[in-house]
């Protein structure tokens, strides 16, 4: 297509783009500027064609607007490289432009360009991801995302100040989270979180809702890693409550972590929820918890092992085992109560062993005894174990206390 573009037309388009950028800056039109910075947006094809047809664009930009050459020239280069699918080059150019823009942005008193800054933050992350993919394919070191992370830290530094600009800080924080989670360097999140949650100049409620939801989602996930289930539940629930209900995929993402957290504190979701958000990998886990079916739990874990390991909920789900044991003992207790109410509170170890054998779980008496001890120890069962007679003696009152939102 580019071949058909006349030089004049190309020149005109580039000039048009440049003047739009400069106009947006001079008129403090953040939205317009933001759209012009969207390097990877599909509507930049007209411009990229022109750039392809007019290879001397850097000079054009430099000559026309020398005071903004630092910003415009690499920006055009980035658009051009991006259209040629040379993402590493595009990233490098865009980073230069972004640095130039950040320089300008610092000098502007009002946050009018916040939208543009956010676009830059988003674009630089997306470009870095593409560039890393490209670099990894060519066997080079994919370090662009990391570079984007350090650039965004600079942006965060420019935003985390007193004044109206601080509102935009959470967006950048979320972009940073995305980078850190992708890179697997989530420990780097801590410093950002600290400054967001402790700094005086931030009032969390002031931030835009979308940023708050994203922030809560990521911090909730971090708490899942730390097995801090109560806090995780709180954060993820906040995210779920405030998330745009139309955004199914975001809801699903939140639920993907919220469900295991809820399970671990004894709250089971309805099956319809799992179905609606296509989270059926948790269905068997849920069923096993309801039935006390240890075998089913292990099967479910085994079946979705890779998935759970990847998302990081595997260990959470593994811990549900004790709850399944509790459920099993409870069921035995219920049956026994029906059979011989007099001895309802005395469960012979042999019965439990038999039940486990029926579930094809291979455990000897000592192990089962150990599990019973653990259940008592973890307060999943009230009572005691008599070693001499191998009998589990249940408390008369509430022998199987509910977790009620408390983790095991």
């Amino acid at each position: 297509m580019a071949a058909y573009l006349s030089m004049g037309e190309a020149h005109r388009r580039i000039g048009d783009y440049l003047s739009r950028v400069v106009d947006a800056i001079s008129s403090s039109d953040g939205a317009a500027l933001a759209s012009l910075f969207a390097v990877s947006a599909p509507d930049s094809t007209l411009l990229s064609d022109a750039l392809a047809a007019f290879p001397d664009f850097p000079r054009l930009a430099g000559d026309r607007f020398p005071h903004l050459a630092d910003l415009l020239v690499p920006l055009l280069r980035a658009i051009h490289s991006h259209s040629l699918q040379r993402f590493a080059d595009a990233y490098s150019s865009f980073e230069k432009a972004a640095n130039a823009f950040l320089q300008e942005f610092r000098n502007w008193e009002t946050p009018w360009a916040m939208e543009a800054m956010h676009t830059v933050a988003l674009e630089i992350r997306l470009l870095a991801e593409k560039a890393d993919r490209e670099l990894a394919m060519t066997g080079k070191n994919p370090d662009k995302l990391q570079a984007a992370g350090s650039f965004l830290m600079k942006v965060f530094g420019a935003l985390a100040v007193k004044g109206p600009k601080r509102i935009g800080a959470l967006y950048v924080t979320c972009q940073l989270f995305k980078i850190y989670f992708r890179l697997g360097t989530v420990n780097l999140c801590r410093s950002v979180i600290r400054s967001i949650e402790t700094a005086r100049n931030f009032d969390f409620e002031d931030f835009p809702v979308k940023d708050k939801v994203t922030y809560m989602y990521y911090t909730g996930r971090l708490e899942v890693f730390n097995e801090n289930f109560l806090v995780a539940d709180q954060k993820l629930t906040y995210a779920l409550m405030h998330c745009n209900p139309q955004s199914e995929s975001n809801l699903r993402r939140i639920l993907k972590f919220l469900i295991p957290v809820k399970l671990s504190i004894g709250v089971l979701p309805k099956r319809t929820l799992l179905e609606r958000y296509n989270l059926l990998e948790y269905a068997d886990v849920m069923t096993s918890l309801k039935r006390g079916d240890l075998r089913l739990l292990r099967q479910a874990l085994d079946r979705h092992e890779d998935q759970f390991l990847k998302s990081g909920v595997y260990l959470v789900l593994e811990k549900l085992e004790l709850q399944v044991y509790q459920r099993l003992v409870k069921k035995i207790h219920i049956i026994q109560r029906q059979k011989e109410p007099a001895k309802a509170h005395q469960i012979k170890l042999g019965v439990v062993v038999k039940a486990l054998k029926w579930l094809e779980i291979d455990m000897d008496v000592d192990e089962v005894e150990c599990i019973m001890a653990c259940l008592i120890y973890k307060n999943l069962i009230k009572g005691y174990f008599a070693h001499k007679s191998k009998v589990l003696v249940l408390s008369k009152q509430d022998p199987f206390p509910k977790l009620n939102g408390k983790p095991v």
Binding site: L315, E321, D366, E367, C370, A373, Y384, F385, H387, K388
Partner: protein, 987 residues
């Protein structure tokens, strides 16, 4: 023969004219033969002077040397005048040269120096004449020209007349120059001749064309040839040596440079009766040596060299033409085939032509080349010429860089035959040359590093030039022997004892060396550079640039010519010389070329520098710096500058170290280290060079230590190869550690030193993995978790690189370690996620995962069951968790069990009884006792009722249970720093 030659010359001329399209020029050379001769001689006179210088140096006759300079200084077109003295010199030189020559040959270094000097000298004067702009063009044309001249020479070669006309060609060029300066003319002259020579040496054929070209282009061409001349000079010299018979001729020609050469030749023959072919070879080698000398000095020039070399190659072998020639030659003179360039030249001299050809050759250096050509010419003169013309033009590297590609092949071809025919000539020195010329380089490797190191080490110990020279000759001998025995590559040079300081070496060498030294001392002073030697040529005046360029060309040419030899390894005799000489030189040369430089141990380089005379170095540096000016392109220039700067630094450091630290071995080591660090520093300093571009391979050292046992000491400086063990020794060391009966601390120390040696040598293979695995296992067994973690992280990396080892075993360890000893759930998750399907089927990994499950659910019974049947050393890692697990278990049991639990049961489920199934009774008591002790230590309440069996009162215990302070805890928190352990280590 003479007539034949004449005919050939005529024939060549005609085509020549066509090719060049310089009708005048072509014809002129032909007819003028006789007339031109004299001018030639005069021109040659200048050359001769230079020659004399060399000779002088060799003989160390200061007088000769001085005349040279004087002449040059005189500057007038006094070719004739100079020639007269020249003639005298030549005549004198004959005798003197002969005398001097012998020693000279013996001490390659000397020859080397002189050559350098001469070259140096020339180049300087030249510089003034030329304009910088011309450089680029000049070089190329020069190359092309040269071949042409050589062609003419070939004609001359056959007949004495040919010389004259050859000269005529040169003359023409001279006028063209118009630069009145004597030197310049001489240079041009020389260049004409030298070009011829050069061409001869390299490309036997192209001479005629070159001449024409030269005349036409005169100026640029001249500069190039000039340098060539220099190169050739040595070459000539060599050549002259073999042809004893040529002397008379030379005498006649007196005026000619040849004359000078001849004398040298004379001496040689007298001293060395070897077959002409061989001698020529030797000479060649010497010549080759000379170029290397030059090369070392210049850091920047390498590229040039390479380029030039390529050019040469293109011109000579690269061109189909050349190949043809070779083929011809081969037929005509089987012996000649030896060197692609030089060899052929020399060969002609040999038996067939004997006196006459030799004489000619000696007279006109270029003639030699022509000789080679002669056969070709004779066979198919016209065709050759035509092809030459065609070929040559394209050959110019600048014009058609692609041609360079061709060269290597042709060279190889040449080499091939050479080797087969004259295996005797294997020049050790050659490798160094190759190294210098990076492009050509690959063959350079033929000489093992260790040998080079060894040579350097020996040379380093020498206290003065004499010793060094002697040492070199010894080294040559050794190398030759090694090659003869076929042990060159297999011998462990690293372990070879150093030579005794060669005080007793032949007096001749000493004398010569003394002379040399005196020469050096005397000569260098006046020339002492004000600028830093490695200064990029850019700084120099424009006038110099041309010269520099020319020099560069020459150098490159020489290199090329030499390279083939090196590869062939045909000139062994010289090879020695070269080797010894080159060793230092070469290294220096290598520096310029990044790769090569790096490949060779930095220490080597440094040593090389140190060993070479500082004076020489200075000269070389100057020379090189000038050569640096020959920048083909801006980038080239830049690169060269960088390189030269690098050298500047290294050079300085080496000099400094040398001065301060005399010749002690210990100091040498220091140098090496310094060299390494300076290298590193340099690389870092070079802002332009990204870290990933650094050639770490080059900085890798190769250990020479043969001690199997070595204590670990954390490196605080660059590693010293003499205390680093090579891989074979490390293998033994590992075996020693594995079988050692000593305690863990000793083994750990040994393994750490092994690891260090592996690291500094960057050995990453199965041995590395084995060492780390061994150490990791030992550390696990000893409960040394920090050490284990180090090994584990290294192993992770090594496994990731695909090096085989006990991968499954160690992934199991990794899992256990992460789950039991770090509380990082993310790490555990990623470790588990990274397990492959096969890994999960492995017994050890399965076991580790089961342990994980047991720990997660608090199933202490299962944990201790798994503990007892742990595969490999899984139990060792679990060991570290046992105490905690037991305590957890007791806490759990005290909460859940009522009223009592027998100690026996606890002992059983908590793993106090080591054999729970069979040997329960046998081991029971011990286990019970231990369990009881443990329980008491942790505050459980025991009661002895219920029939005597000891029971634990769970309710009471739940309140009193506590985790005792670890007995072996130390205040500073690191048990391994405890005094007892320290004493245990030292004992």
């Amino acid at each position: 023969m003479a007539s034949h030659v004449a005919g050939a010359a005529a024939g060549s001329d005609a085509p020549h004219a066509e090719v060049v399209s310089m009708g005048q020029i072509n014809p002129s050379p032909c007819p003028p033969l006789s007339s031109s001769h004299q001018p030639w001689s005069s021109a040659s006179g200048s050359v001769t002077v230079s020659w004399n210088n060399q000779v002088d140096k060799a003989s160390q006759d200061t007088v000769y040397y001085d005349p040279q300079r004087d002449v040059s200084v005189a500057g007038g077109n006094q070719n004739v005048g100079s020639s007269a003295p020249h003639a005298a010199q030549s005549s004198m030189g004959m005798t003197d040269a002969s005398h001097s020559h012998v020693p000279y040959s013996s001490s390659v270094q000397h020859s080397y120096n002189p050559v350098e000097y001469a070259n140096y000298y020339y180049s300087y004067p030249q510089a003034a004449n030329d304009s910088s702009v011309q450089q680029g063009a000049n070089q190329h044309p020069g190359a092309a020209y040269q071949p042409l001249t050589s062609f003419q020479n070939s004609g001359s070669y056959i007949d004495p007349t040919s010389n004259t006309y050859y000269n005529a060609g040169g003359h023409q060029t001279v006028p063209g120059y118009g630069s009145g300066s004597y030197y310049y003319q001489n240079n041009t002259w020389d260049s004409g001749s030298s070009g011829n020579n050069y061409a001869q040496s390299y490309q036997n054929y192209s001479s005629s064309d070159t001449n024409a070209l030269q005349s036409s282009t005169s100026m640029p061409a001249n500069s190039v040839p000039y340098q060539q001349q220099y190169n050739q000079w040595p070459y000539y010299y060599n050549q002259s040596v073999p042809s004893a018979s040529s002397n008379p001729v030379t005498g006649k020609s007196t005026a000619d440079n040849v004359a000078v050469n001849t004398p040298a030749g004379y001496s040689y023959p007298s001293s060395q009766p070897p077959p002409p072919g061989t001698t020529s070879w030797k000479i060649n080698s010497v010549a080759s040596v000379a170029p290397p000398m030059q090369a070392p000095g210049v850091s920047g020039p390498q590229n040039q060299y390479a380029n030039q070399a390529q050019d040469h190659a293109n011109q000579a072998p690269g061109v189909p033409w050349s190949q043809n020639h070779y083929a011809y030659q081969a037929q005509a003179y089987p012996q000649k085939t030896m060197n692609s360039n030089h060899a052929p030249l020399i060969n002609p001299e040999d038996p067939q032509r004997t006196v006459d050809p030799i004489g000619r050759s000696s007279n006109t250096l270029s003639n030699h080349v022509s000789e080679n050509f002669q056969p070709n010419l004779q066979g198919s003169m016209t065709t050759n010429t035509s092809s030459e013309s065609k070929i040559q033009i394209p050959t110019n590297p600048r014009i058609a860089p692609g041609f360079s590609m061709v060269i290597p092949k042709s060279e190889k071809k040449n080499l091939g035959p050479d080797l087969s025919k004259k295996p005797a000539y294997v020049s050790v020195s050659m490798p160094t040359n190759d190294a210098k010329a990076t492009q050509v380089g690959p063959d350079a490797r033929s000489m093992p590093f260790s040998l080079r190191n060894y040579t350097i080490r020996n040379l380093n110990r020498c206290k003065d030039d004499a010793q060094r020279a002697a040492c070199r000759s010894i080294m040559e001998e050794i190398t030759r022997k090694a090659i003869a025995d076929g042990t060159l590559l297999t011998k462990n040079w690293d372990t070879e004892p150093l030579l005794p300081l060669p005080e007793s070496v032949a007096g001749t060498t000493e004398a010569s060396s003394a002379n040399h030294s005196s020469l050096f001392s005397s000569t260098p002073t006046p020339r002492k550079r004000v600028k830093s030697r490695w200064e990029p040529a850019v700084d120099e005046k424009v006038t110099n640039k041309v010269e520099q360029i020319a020099k560069g060309l020459v150098n490159s040419n020489i290199h090329n010519s030499f390279e083939p030899k090196n590869r062939t390894g045909s000139s062994w005799d010289h090879g020695k010389f070269l080797q010894s000489h080159q060793a230092p030189l070469n290294k220096a040369n290598q520096r310029p070329a990044k790769k090569q430089k790096f490949t060779s141990n930095p220490s080597q380089i440094q040593n090389g520098n140190a060993s070479s005379d500082s004076d020489k170095e200075q000269d070389l540096t100057k020379y090189y710096a000038s050569a640096t000016a020959l920048a083909n392109s801006p980038e080239e220039k830049k690169r060269r500058e960088h390189r030269s700067k690098r050298f500047e630094r290294s050079q300085d450091s080496s000099l400094r170290s040398r001065n301060s630290s005399a010749n002690k071995d210990a100091i040498a080591n220091m140098h090496r280290r310094r060299a390494v660090s300076s290298h590193l520093g340099r690389t870092y300093e070079e802002g332009t060079r990204a870290v990933e571009d650094m050639d770490w391979d080059a900085l890798t050292i190769k250990g020479t230590c043969q001690e199997i046992e070595k204590n670990y000491l954390r490196l605080t400086s660059a590693p010293d190869p003499s205390i680093v063990r090579p891989e074979e020794v490390l293998e033994k060391a590992l075996a020693m550690v594995e079988t050692s009966q000593k305690n863990y601390f000793y083994k750990c120390d040994q393994l750490k030193s092994i690891r260090q040696d592996l690291t500094v040598q960057r050995i990453q293979n199965e041995l590395t993995v084995k060492v780390y695995e061994t150490h990791a296992r030992l550390a696990m067994q000893a409960g040394d978790l920090p050490e284990y973690n180090q090994c584990q992280s290294q192993l992770k990396r090594l496994y990731a690189e695909g090096i085989k080892g006990c991968y499954f075993e160690f992934s199991a360890y990794n899992l256990l370690c992460v789950m039991l000893h770090s509380n990082n759930k993310r790490d555990l998750l990623s470790s588990m996620a990274s397990l492959s399907k096969e890994a999960k089927q492995d017994a050890a990994v399965k076991h580790a995962l089961a342990v994980h499950a047991a720990v997660l659910s608090g199933n202490y019974v299962l944990f201790f069951k798994l503990y007892k049947k742990a595969p490999n050393l899984n139990s060792c890692l679990m060991d570290l968790h046992v105490e905690r697990m037991r305590f957890e278990a007791m806490k759990c049991m005290s909460r859940s069990y009522r009223p009592t639990v027998p100690v026996g049961y606890v002992a059983q489920i908590l793993g106090f009884l080591r054999t729970d199934s069979e040997g329960c009774t046998a081991d029971g008591d011990d286990g019970l006792e231990e369990c009881e002790k443990w329980l008491k230590a942790h505050g459980t309440v025991l009661s002895g009722d219920n029939g005597g069996e000891l029971q634990i009162d769970m309710k009471a215990s739940s309140a009193t249970l506590y985790m005792p302070e670890p007995e072996n805890a130390v205040a500073h928190g690191d048990a391994s720093l405890a005094v007892d352990d320290f004493l245990a280590r030292t004992s």
